[in-house]
């Protein structure tokens, strides 16, 4: 029910209505991006971004840098396992 799935915005379908086409595990879906756009971040700038999709809406952008940092920390933990 509260399922959220990562997907990548591949194009903007309707700038006015804030609709984008998002690829989710190889499947293309129309997703409403109203919750993640504003004057600083107009729809046109969203192509290529990863978002979390929930019930047809993009809930938030996925921050690639933060994701990489989390994985980096876990990698370090795995490399220092013996200590």
């Amino acid at each position: 029910m509260c399922l959220g799935i990562p997907g990548k915005i591949i194009k903007i379908a309707d700038v006015e209505k804030k609709l984008a086409i998002v690829e989710i595990s190889g499947v293309k879906r129309q997703v409403n991006i109203s919750l993640i756009v504003n004057d600083e971040h107009p729809p046109e700038t969203c192509v290529g971004e990863w978002v979390l999709v929930h019930v047809g809406f993009a809930m938030n952008r996925i921050n690639e840098k933060e994701a990489a940092e989390t994985l980096h920390l876990l990698q370090e933990l795995a490399s220092n396992e013996i200590c």
């Binding site: 509260c2 595990s25 109203s34 019930v55 047809g56 809406f57 933060e66 994701a67 990489a68 795995a78």
Partner: protein, 375 residues
């Protein structure tokens, strides 16, 4: 990066388990951790996380499955609305098999009610546009994750002047539910795995209150196996170091303040109800949302006469105690016999996020076997 496989890497998982074991050693006492969110419960079973954790850690499956906490009376109301001859009733698939006091939406559908399952609230608006001579009602449920989507749909209906559309609003709020749980005198918990997707909307700040008032560490967590293991590791570190903080494991999606656009949209359309009934937990103050009077024309509670009765939970059902972590599903007398996913008595058996359904699906033999040995 695809944000899925990277967070399932077995080598990193092993390192985390090793760290968790070390911390459990230091703590020298059994630790009870509640995962609030139903999607966490689902992931924990799907990846067999309970089995790989040290015995000292007990995971308690909390009330964060919106379908599981939907009270019978509200379902009866939903079914009553769907019985109006001119109504098309639109709902998420999860709600179809939830038992009301007499019947389910699925049974109502087979008996002739016009009930559609939809993936998004926007789909129900499309149905309204395509059927101008019908009244289309969307059954809105879910926490703060889903409420902004419903709010935007209502705003769109208002902008396009779609008058044959309304929403039966059952959105609920996570913080009051946690408070109600923590006020329960029997509840014994050491820490919380916080709901990641709710927190993409509300941020991590609202949990500060819980953390300070009840002295329980909280880590907001993602849903992949590494996310959950890392969150448990972070919680244990807090316990070992005697800290009590709100920490964020799900940095890639959650920040302190949340999604301001989503919060503003929610506040524009909804206001907080004085009280809302939860299955198994009773009335919880300030725990539900209702549609503001400015949007009353889109409020199904305003458009239709609904019974609005409080109905007691089934006598045999232990859902309430399960959601509080006082009882395990297999300890319920009817678990796996009278109550199965095909014939659910309580809602914890309906949704794949419910604790009973998760035990039934992934773990039935081990658990019922274990139960026999220990009783």
């Amino acid at each position: 990066m695809k944000y899925v496989d990277e967070f399932r890497d077995p080598q990193k998982a092993e390192a985390l388990i090793w760290q968790i074991e070390k911390l459990c050693h230091l703590l020298e006492t059994p630790i009870k951790i509640m995962e609030v969110c139903g999607s966490h419960t689902h992931a924990i079973f799907k990846y067999g996380i309970e089995e790989i954790l040290p015995k000292a850690i007990e995971l308690i499956h909390g009330p964060g499955c919106p379908v599981c906490v939907m009270p019978k009376g509200r379902l009866d109301d939903a079914i009553a609305i769907s019985q109006n001859p001119n109504v098309i009733f639109a709902t998420f698939g999860d709600a179809m098999r939830v038992p009301g006091s007499q019947t389910t939406l699925l049974q109502a559908k087979t008996q002739g009610a016009d009930i559609h399952t939809v993936y998004s609230p926007l789909d129900s608006l499309k149905i309204a546009k395509a059927n101008p001579d019908k009244e289309v009602v969307f059954f809105a449920l879910g926490f703060e994750t889903t409420a902004p989507a419903t709010a935007l749909t209502i705003l769109e209906a208002a902008a396009e002047n779609i008058n044959n559309f309304s929403v039966f609003c059952n959105h609920i709020l996570v913080i009051p539910a946690l408070q109600a749980l923590l006020n329960h005198p029997q509840l014994q918990l050491h820490a919380f795995i916080g709901p990641g997707h709710v927190s993409t909307v509300i941020g991590t700040d609202p949990y500060q209150l819980i953390c300070q008032q009840y002295r329980k560490p909280i880590v907001i967590s993602g849903f992949e196996p590494l996310d959950i293991l890392q969150s448990i590791w972070m919680l244990l570190r807090q316990l070992v170091e005697n800290r009590c903080e709100v920490e964020n494991q799900y940095h890639r999606l959650v920040d302190k303040a949340g999604n301001q656009t989503a919060i503003a949209t929610m506040n524009k359309v909804f206001e907080v109800r004085e009280n809302f009934p939860w299955r198994g937990l009773g009335q919880i103050p300030d725990s539900g949302l209702k549609i503001r009077s400015e949007y009353a024309q889109f409020d199904a509670e305003n458009k239709f006469t609904i019974p609005n009765l409080l109905v007691a939970d089934h006598k045999a059902c232990q859902c309430g105690n399960i959601l509080k972590g006082l009882v395990k599903p297999w300890e319920c007398k009817v678990f796996g016999t009278a109550c199965t996913p095909e014939t659910p008595i309580g809602t914890c058996m309906v949704s794949s996020e419910g604790a009973c359904a998760a035990y039934y699906k992934y773990n039935r033999l081990v658990r019922t076997g274990k139960n026999k040995v220990t009783t």
